[in-house]
Symmetry: C3
Subunit: 344 residues, 3 copies
Amino acid sequence: MAKTNAGNFFEDFTVGQVIEHATPRTITEGDRALYGAIYPTRFALPSSSEFAHQVGLTDAPVEELIAFHVAFGKTVPDISLNAVANLGYAECRFKRPVVAGDTLTTTSEVIGLKQNSNGKSGVVYVRSTAVNQREEIAIEWARWVMVHKRDVDAPAPETVIPDLAGSVAPESLIIPEGLDFSEYDFASAGEEHRFDDYTVGEKIDHVDGVTLTDAEHMMATRLWQNTAKVHFNTEARPDGRRLVYGGHVISLARALSFNGLANAQLIAAINAGSHVAPAFGGDTVYAWSEVLEKADTDAPGVGALRLRLVATSGRDESMTLRGEDGKYAPGVLLDLDYWAFVPR
Amino acid sequence: MAKTNAGNFFEDFTVGQVIEHATPRTITEGDRALYGAIYPTRFALPSSSEFAHQVGLTDAPVEELIAFHVAFGKTVPDISLNAVANLGYAECRFKRPVVAGDTLTTTSEVIGLKQNSNGKSGVVYVRSTAVNQREEIAIEWARWVMVHKRDVDAPAPETVIPDLAGSVAPESLIIPEGLDFSEYDFASAGEEHRFDDYTVGEKIDHVDGVTLTDAEHMMATRLWQNTAKVHFNTEARPDGRRLVYGGHVISLARALSFNGLANAQLIAAINAGSHVAPAFGGDTVYAWSEVLEKADTDAPGVGALRLRLVATSGRDESMTLRGEDGKYAPGVLLDLDYWAFVPR
Amino acid sequence: MAKTNAGNFFEDFTVGQVIEHATPRTITEGDRALYGAIYPTRFALPSSSEFAHQVGLTDAPVEELIAFHVAFGKTVPDISLNAVANLGYAECRFKRPVVAGDTLTTTSEVIGLKQNSNGKSGVVYVRSTAVNQREEIAIEWARWVMVHKRDVDAPAPETVIPDLAGSVAPESLIIPEGLDFSEYDFASAGEEHRFDDYTVGEKIDHVDGVTLTDAEHMMATRLWQNTAKVHFNTEARPDGRRLVYGGHVISLARALSFNGLANAQLIAAINAGSHVAPAFGGDTVYAWSEVLEKADTDAPGVGALRLRLVATSGRDESMTLRGEDGKYAPGVLLDLDYWAFVPR
């Protein structure tokens, strides 16, 4: 009896299948500290329990991306251990802040399957849900990955492509209980720009860059219990390089976006995301943002900005997403579309 | 008066001598997080306070090896600062789980001495005991190290070689208070294999590999307050390389063994251990295990597996411990013999 | 409207100006663990909550330098983002221990200005104060930095040079409430040397060295939310190297000083400090100390030592601070003058 996990292949998935992912994980203040050591984050709300209390939160949440990476990491051994590529995200909503002491577990349902025409692989669509120890939903999201077949002769399943929203409707964003930005302290937060200061179409060059090291991206990726071999093992790829976990670039770009978006305190939803190109140790990562949409919320003093967050290898002051050919510009690593809560 | 610690030399030790080691150390959730950032550990019990409670533990223990490395680190300035080599371990028992907030201190008794025939060094045998702030024993173990003499003309002490067990008898393993695996959640833990699924003689290739970086092994080794110069200083060895602390390889191999031994939740004892070859940054470490012995316990649903854990530099799918000449096979870094508690 | 912070230039400062720095920061046990992973610190008081209690402290403070780096980091975006050089420190007093759960915020007052004769830059003197969530002062200090002008034609301000003490008078040192070294446990602390064992003029070679890695100094510097580009970005300097944050060298040297000054448990004040030369990944840092002054205190069993802490790149067993020309000797990285509390 083979004891080790070989992961699931395309033909192992069926639409409607529910997978309970292993390894519940308790979030601690140690995670917050490590996150702050690995990413240059300075958002006041997760940095300061006092600031969190001042904006109406009874506990001091950790950054949404800590919870996301932990929740996502659980799905890797079952969903994407044999993935060719991580194709996309949709309908990711942060439904409840995660605080130190919370224990997260993740479950996924297969919501779509489509075998590729080459017969060697297929696309698996899953909707994943992370709950805390009280079975309250912390995060839910859909993603789709291209997964190898074990046996190219296995029959193709019926094609089912789920109907996923292009973006999360602003009226369906979940506001953390008690959140109130009406007495928001802009001096503490570090910038004066509020909801009304941002205009749709505006781009912001976040200026700063960080050169990646292998030690740091491996430590981050392990912290999320993500087991994909290519991140840790120089013998796993022909070029002998350790591929940086895509989520590492997301967190790095989000942290860099502080410079210009310091008041985008909470991530409310991720609408879409593409890991456009791989990143490796030695690359210097920069970020820019574009304001895509603005929306009101029912919470006092709280508005929502829909933002495109772009990470690049090397700085692109022109902030070009795509060339004239419609393809992503050289250097683009990440194209992430998300909603954030900001003070009005 | 010289203020710095030059460490003890062989002739400074006498049988029966008791050494109280310095620097009590409080364990925190920060240690747990760093351990998870540095090693790819996913054992459900130390990962999740909920899982720990579900198996009957009132608190959420950290991994036994966190406590071991901290307890061991305290002995280095007094026992092995002038060591030629760390020769072996025996009779190591984990007697009480260590939780965040516990403060560990370590005491050692010299239990044996044997000068080498060359007159330049000798073997020192010590039995060390780590206690918590309530003076309850957390860990006890014996080890022996070869230590330089300061003065080759110092007289040889009477040779005393302690009688150490080849392995810890399973009936003397200490079961953490309250441990009950009768409602064990195999889905949460990540694998279905239980006590009865393992057979003596079975070998398990843990498949995954991790390429070492200097930053990571130094951070780990410092966390344990281990002060041996060779781990941190490129000027301490003629080859300019930083030697990886042997315990780093133990923790890495243990974490890699999750893949195939996910239910070996708790280390109960270390029977023996050899650091067969040195490891350095850039080495890619793999692990395999062999089931050596099985035993019942009195605790509900709890069995004990005696396992050989072998770390190698480069993967050896043949899982060869020794060549035909009886010597360790090339690439073997670590040969560790331990007991773990698993669900029946 | 430009959204990103370009920092202040020389002509943006006026004497008497008060700046509330952004990003309140809650200290956690994660910070303590990371500090112990990055620096080889073994001082018993911050290592062990039990030891802290035994010397009369009700809580378990983190190392003073954790609080200092966090408090200092807050000032960087407003004071020194456009700095040419960090010129000096004075009158730094640690007024209250910082414990996990405390939230620090920092305010600075401009206390002096002097334009350089070249008209391109000037020296800004600030006095900064870090308070906790109860508005109690944790640390206060003065520093002066040379800052670029944005516009060389901007008029020079009136020159104001503050009157700063060459060192903190020992009678003005603040003793943490309850501190009592009369039952001090020297065995736990690791060395027997007490106040009376140190003589003014004595030098101590701390023996051990640590080779720097980029991953480690970046993680430390980020943990303090220090945003200076040169520490993180290989594209920020013509030589493609990442400059090590000066505070990293301070913490490393302080940790190395354990070997010979294990009982210098608490930093009471920083009298002066110079970052003599830059440090980079690959450098091996050593430290030595000189006893400058001794003083009594009112607290039971507590004396104060004024110490010069010198960090060098490469070991200098001669412990030479300056050559015959009066200039710092080659290899000197740091010259720090501080007061520490030690048992009598």
